[in-house]
């Protein structure tokens, strides 16, 4: 990181076009990851294994969506457009989230015959959560001061999410053979996509050069250490370093699943974007 660079406000960032472009690109990645995964979490409402989990999962999804809101508001301050519009009116190809977070919760529809995969929900939230820890710790030293401050704040909240998912991981890993098999399948599915999280996209070099966050390799390495340790703790067999997925969400490559998710989540907003809520 270029340690000397320190940008204290949106106004200051906007005076440097190259810095501004890199910053906005990174903010879209961070915001879109949290936003889309929070949406997937919200689709579990009423379907989680028991009532306490329903309360906990929706509470965490709401908190994570709150994190996304802050990042979108940061983009608004940088002249990228209205925060609500950024979340709900962009085209799928403008989203910068990793493909991992856009995957559906399972087969079937939220309303009709949802055959959602609970093991996948836990595996995805837990290993995404480990990445969020790594990313937030790096962002806490970002050259963009507002981003560093917000990241430090989200870290304290995110710890509680991780305690929750850790309990579930341990329960499934130490449960019946069926539970272990389901978890193993879910981990395989997560591993197909999770490499996409570590990518910083087409502007990676500029993002790192401006001291906004550390490089892909460092972030990957730190996540790998945490992930290996977790496998060990839960008594699971390590499945190896994730490969780079075919679709690069950071470059706007996505599945139909994201397009459908955006259609659903923005349906009401699009009816009347000027309405007051």
């Amino acid at each position: 990181m270029v340690s000397s660079l320190r940008i204290e406000s949106a106004e200051q960032a906007m005076q440097n076009p190259e810095y501004l472009t890199a910053l906005k690109e990174l903010l879209f990645q961070v915001a879109d990851d949290d936003f889309i995964l929070a949406h997937r979490g919200s689709e579990w409402l009423g379907l989680a294994p028991h009532i306490e989990e329903d309360v906990a999962f929706s509470s965490m999804s709401q908190d994570m969506m709150g994190h996304a809101v802050m990042f979108y508001e940061m983009l608004e301050a940088l002249g990228a457009g209205k925060a609500d519009d950024l979340a709900q009116l962009r085209k799928p190809e403008d989203f910068r989230n990793a493909v991992l977070v856009e995957r559906m919760n399972g087969t079937g529809d939220y309303i009709e015959e949802p055959h959602y995969d609970w093991a996948y929900a836990i595996a995805r939230c837990y290993f995404y959560g480990l990445f969020k820890e790594v990313r937030s710790e790096s962002l806490a030293n970002s050259s963009y001061l507002p981003l560093a401050q917000v990241s430090r704040k989200t870290m304290t909240e995110h710890r509680y999410h991780m305690i929750h998912w850790q309990v579930w991981m341990s329960q499934l890993a130490n449960s019946t053979e069926e539970a272990r098999n389901r978890l193993a399948n879910a981990l395989g599915k997560v591993w197909d996509d999770i490499g996409g999280l570590f990518i910083l996209g087409p502007l990676a070099a500029s993002i790192v050069k401006h001291g906004l966050i550390e490089g892909e390799e460092l972030l990957t390495q730190r996540w790998l250490e945490k992930a290996k340790k977790a496998f060990d703790t839960f008594g699971l067999t390590w499945i190896g370093k994730p490969k780079t997925p075919e679709l690069n969400g950071r470059a706007g490559q996505h599945t139909q699943e994201l397009a459908d998710a955006i259609d659903t989540l923005s349906e009401v907003y699009r009816l009347d974007p000027a309405a007051n809520w």
Binding site: E52, V55, A56, S59, M60, Q62, D63, M64, M65, G66, H67, V69, M70, P146, Q149, V150, R152, K153, T154, T156, E157, R159, Y160, I163, H164
Partner: protein, 163 residues
């Protein structure tokens, strides 16, 4: 009430803010919660810096309008600005002693002071004071609270998370 000259001005607003309650815990004011970081007055504009407890808190907008409404009643105030800031980050250590007592009376156990996440979190029942309690759900009705059960007086209760 009219704007007074000099240093007293800010005190007037701090006093009024004591009357603005946390919308989800109406027993406690935002000042007692440690959520008001700074109040400043410039000519006829009052600015209030608010520290959100949990970032995803859906009550933030309600708090904002409650502050604008309350401080806007002061004669001579043209505008009330409310800004959410994250530096310093809100911590449960900021809750005042009177805030802690009111939380307990409301049935919510206060977070321990200077708590580190690695340490066990011992929660005393707000009704009978027993430490013989169990965690039922880390996430309660709001992100900042958990649901517990007192094995001594057999009451369910909530506790505010230490952060």
């Amino acid at each position: 009430m009219a704007l007074q000259e000099g240093l007293l001005q800010e005190d007037v607003f701090w006093n009024l803010l004591e009357e603005v309650k946390d919308p989800e815990i109406p027993a406690v004011s935002m000042v007692e919660m440690g959520m008001i970081n700074k109040v400043s007055v410039e000519d006829d504009v009052v600015s209030v810096e608010v520290l959100p407890t949990f970032v995803g808190c859906p009550a933030l907008e309600i708090m904002k309008s409650a502050i604008v409404k309350k401080l806007g009643t002061v004669e001579g105030v043209r505008e009330v600005q409310v800004n959410f800031v994250f530096e310093p980050a809100w911590s449960s250590d900021r809750i005042s002693d009177s805030g802690r007592e009111k939380l307990r009376e409301f049935g919510i156990a206060s977070p321990p002071c200077k708590h580190r996440i690695e340490e066990p979190w011992e929660v005393k029942c707000p009704y009978c004071g027993s430490s013989h309690t169990t965690m039922e759900n880390l996430f309660g009705p709001t992100a900042c609270r958990s649901i517990l059960y007192c094995k001594h007086c057999k009451n369910p209760f909530e506790a505010m998370k230490p952060i």
